[in-house]
Amino acid sequence: MSRLLRPASRLVSSSIARPAARNAFQSFPRVPAIVQSRGYAKESGVKEYTVRDALNEALAEELELNPKVFILGEEVAQYNGAYKVTKGLLDRFGDKRVIDTPITESGFCGLAVGAALAGLHPVCEFMTFNFAMQAIDQIVNSAAKTHYMSGGIQPCNITFRGPNGFASGVAAQHSQDYSAWYGSIPGLKVVTPWSAEDAKGLLKAAIRDPNPVCVLENELLYGQSFPMSEAAQKDDFVIPFGKAKIERAGKDLTIVTLSRCVGQSLVAAEALKKKYGVEVEVINLRSIKPLDVEAIVKSVKKTHRLLAVESGFPAFGVGAELLALTMEYAFDYLDAPAQRITGAEVPTPYALKLEQMSFPDETLIENYAKKMLRL
C-alpha cells in the first residue's frame, strides 16, 4: 500500500531541503549557503585549502551530520587513504563508519549499492576510477537504473568517488578519463570538481543528493591549494548540480572546460590577455550531468566563439558532446565552428615526452585559442 504512494520519492524530496538527522545541538543559518558563497564572502575569512583537505572536510562533515553516511573502499581507514583523502576519519568516526575493503571492486561496490537501496548513504571510494571499471556494471546497472526500473519506488542514494583521469607516469592502465562513460548514463549524476570549493561543495551535494552520483576527482589536483571562502568553510555549504561557474569573464572566446583543464585554461586565458589583449571567458562546468547548457549559450551569445577543453579520449567524448550541444542550441550565435581540445587518441604512454603529447597543456590551449581568434 505505502509503496503505491511512492514513499521513497517523497522521502527523497524532503531530504533535499533538509539534510536528515542533523545534530540537534548545531544551529544552521537559514539562508542557503550557495547564496552566501556567490561573491559576498568577506576577504578576511578566506583560507587556503588543498583540494585534499576540502574533500576530507566534506566527508567529515557529512559523516558528522548524518549517521546514515558511511565510507568504504580500499585503504580508506587504517592507511588513511591511498592519497590521504580520508585521513583521520577512522580515528574520528570509528570502523563502523570508515571501512577498509578487500581489493574487490565489483563486490564492495555492489554491496554499497545494496546498502543504499536499503536506505543508507554510502560513499564508495575507488582508489582510482581506473579500478571502477571492475565495478562499472554495478554502477550503471544496479545503481543508476534501479530508480527508473522500479517505477520510482526504489531510490539509490550513493556516492561513488575517487581520482579520475590523467595521472603522471603511470601508463595506460592507470591513466584514463571516464567522464564521458559516466556522463552518458541516464540515472547517474556526474560532477567534476576543480577547485577546493568545488571539491567540498560538490562532494557534499553528492552525498546529500538522493540519486547515485559519481564524483570524478583528479589526483594531480589533490595537493593544489585554492582560496576557500568563509561560507564554503561552513558545514552547510553545497554547490548545486547543473550550474557552471564563470571562472573568468570575457567577450572574445568562450572556453568550456572541467576538472584540471580549468586551471590550465585560466593560465592560457591570462597569457592571451597579456600577449594579445583578448578577453577569454572560462567556464568551469563543475557538473557534466546535469550539464549547464544555458551558461554555454549565454556565453556564446556574448563571445560568438567556443572552444571545449577536456582531457579524455576525443572520440565520443565530453568535448564532442559540448560541440554537439553548441550546434543544437547556439549555432546562430557562432561566428566560427566550435572547436575542441582533448586528450590524444592513444593509450597513455609511459615515457614523459610521449605522455606530454597525449594531454592538453597551457601552451596548447593558448596556441589553439590564438589560432581560432586569428591573432
Binding site: E74, Q78, Y79, V170
Partner: protein, 409 residues
C-alpha cells in the same frame, strides 16, 4: 627464525590432513630459506652431475593433494645459476630503487626485493614454452623470462630501447612466454587461464603459471578462473604470492581464509616455502607434471615477504613493525639461505661464491649504465601512435589533441 604468525601454527602437533587418501604433509610451512639438506660427501666433483637434496619437512603443506617428493635432484651448476639469478634480480631492483630516488623513474615502481626465490624457483622448473603471467611486481619475472637488465631498466627509465619501447614503464613488460606485467589487480588470473586453455587447445605439453598477490586473491574473477580451469581441466598453476600484505592491508584483514592454497576449494592446493628457491623449484616441477599429465589445475601459495614498501612511494613501515621487516631480512633471506647451503654442501667455495657475486653485480651494473645512456623516444606522432594497432592494420589516422595534431599512418 619463524615469523610471528608462523610460530603459533608450528606449535601445533604434527599436522595430519583430516580427509583420507592423501599423503601426510609433515609440518607447517616456514619461511626458513636454509632448511634443505644434502650429504656433503655425496656432492660430486663435476658441475653438471646430478645429486640429491632433501627438502625440509616444513617446505610444503597440501590440500587434497599428495605432497611433492621431499627429495630432489640438482647439480652444482644449477644451484650456482639459481644463486646468480637471485643476486641479479636483487641487484637490478636495487638499481631501480636508486634510479627512482634520483627521480629518473616516473610513476609507480614496485620492487620484489625479498621475493626473488619465487621468480627464480619458478623459472628453473619451466621451459621457455611454458607461460608466466603476473601483476605489476614484474621486474624479476621479466628478467628470468629472458628480458635483459638493460631493457628492463631502460623501460623503467622510459627509453626507446626499453623492453616495451618506453610505452609500458615499470608495470608493463612482456617477453616470449611472459604475458606481463599487468596493472589491474586480479585481471591477469583469468587471462592466465586463457593461456592454459590455448596450451590445451593446441595439444601442447606445457603449463601456465598465473601469479597474483594475497590482496588480489579476493577478486571475484580469480574464482571465476578457478571454476573454468577445473571445469575444463586446464593446465594451469594458479600461484598466490603471499607476501603478507596488499598495500597497507595485512592478509588477515583482507581475506576470510588466509590459507590461500585452499581457496580453490575443488582444486587441490600446495603451500610452499617461498623463501627457499629449492622448495619453489620442486613444487612447480611437481605442479607442472601434474597439469601436463592432464590432472587439471593446482592452487599454489608461495609464502614470502616483501622487504620494501608496496611501491617506492610507500615507506612500508606504518602497517608493520620495523622489527618484523628486520627479522625477515636478517633470518629468512632467500639469497643468504641458499648461500649458506652452497657453502655447507661444498658446492662452491667462499672464494668462488664471491666471484659469482661480483660477476652478477658487474653484469647488472654494466647493463644499468648502458640503459642510462639509451635515448628517450622521439617526441613525434610516428612514435606516439605506433603500435596502437598491429602494423599495417591501422585505421587511416588517429586524432591528436587538436585536429592539426592528427597522425596519418
Amino acid at each position: 627464525m619463524l615469523s610471528r604468525t608462523l610460530r603459533t601454527s608450528r606449535a601445533a602437533p604434527l599436522r595430519v590432513l583430516s580427509r583420507g587418501g592423501y599423503g601426510v604433509t609433515k609440518r607447517a610451512v616456514t619461511t626458513d630459506a636454509a632448511s634443505a639438506h644434502a650429504d656433503k660427501d655425496a656432492v660430486p666433483e663435476e658441475d653438471d652431475k646430478p645429486f640429491q637434496v632433501h627438502l625440509s619437512d616444513e617446505s610444503f603443506e597440501t590440500y587434497e593433494l599428495d605432497p611433492p617428493p621431499y627429495t630432489m635432484e640438482t647439480t652444482k651448476k644449477e644451484l650456482k645459476q639459481m644463486y646468480y639469478d637471485m643476486v641479479s634480480v636483487r641487484r637490478m631492483e636495487m638499481a631501480a630503487d636508486r634510479l627512482y630516488k634520483e627521480k629518473k623513474i616516473r610513476g609507480f615502481c614496485h620492487l620484489s626485493t625479498g621475493q626473488e626465490a619465487v621468480a627464480v624457483g619458478i623459472e628453473h622448473s619451466l621451459t621457455k614454452e611454458d607461460d608466466i603471467i603476473t601483476a605489476y611486481r614484474c621486474h624479476g619475472f621479466a628478467l628470468m623470462r629472458g628480458g635483459t637488465v638493460k631493457s628492463i631498466i631502460g623501460e623503467l627509465l622510459g627509453r626507446r630501447e626499453g623492453i616495451a619501447y618506453g610505452k609500458g614503464g615499470s608495470m608493463h613488460m612482456f617477453a616470449k612466454g611472459f604475458y606481463g606485467g599487468n596493472g589491474i589487480v586480479g585481471a591477469q588470473v583469468p587471462v592466465g587461464a586463457g593461456l592454459a586453455f590455448a596450451h590445451q587447445y593446441n595439444g601442447n605439453k606445457n603449463t601456465t603459471v598465473a601469479l597474483y598477490g594475497d590482496g588480489a586473491s579476493n577478486q571475484g574473477q580469480v574464482f571465476e578462473a578457478f571454476n573454468m580451469a577445473k571445469l575444463w581441466n586446464l593446465p594451469i598453476l594458479f600461484g598466490c604470492e603471499n607476501n603478507k600484505y596488499g598495500m597497507g592491508t595485512a592478509a588477515n584483514r583482507s581475506s576470510a581464509l588466509t590459507d590461500y592454497y585452499k581457496r580453490g576449494q575443488y582444486i587441490p592446493g600446495l603451500k610452499v616455502n617461498g623463501m627457499d628457491v629449492l622448495a619453489v623449484k620442486a613444487a612447480v616441477a611437481y605442479g607442472k607434471a601434474h597439469t601436463v599429465a592432464g590432472l587439471g589445475p593446482l592452487v599454489l601459495e608461495y609464502v614470502t615477504y616483501r622487504y620494501g614498501g608496496h611501491s617506492m612511494s610507500d615507506p612500508g613501515t606504518t602497517y608493520r613493525t620495523r622489527e618484523e621487516i628486520q627479522r625477515m631480512r636478517s633470518t629468512q633471506d632467500p639469497i643468504a639461505g641458499l648461500k649458506q647451503k652452497l657453502l655447507e654442501w661444498n658446492v662452491t667455495t667462499e672464494e668462488e661464491l664471491k666471484g659469482i657475486d661480483q660477476e652478477a653485480r658487474k653484469a647488472v651494473d654494466g647493463e644499468v649504465a648502458e640503459a642510462e645512456k639509451m635515448e628517450f623516444p622521439e617526441a613525434t606522432g610516428k612514435v606516439l601512435y605506433e603500435d596502437i594497432y598491429v602494423r599495417g592494420s591501422e585505421p587511416q589516422f588517429m586524432r591528436g589533441r587538436t585536429p592539426d595534431e592528427n597522425y596519418y599512418y
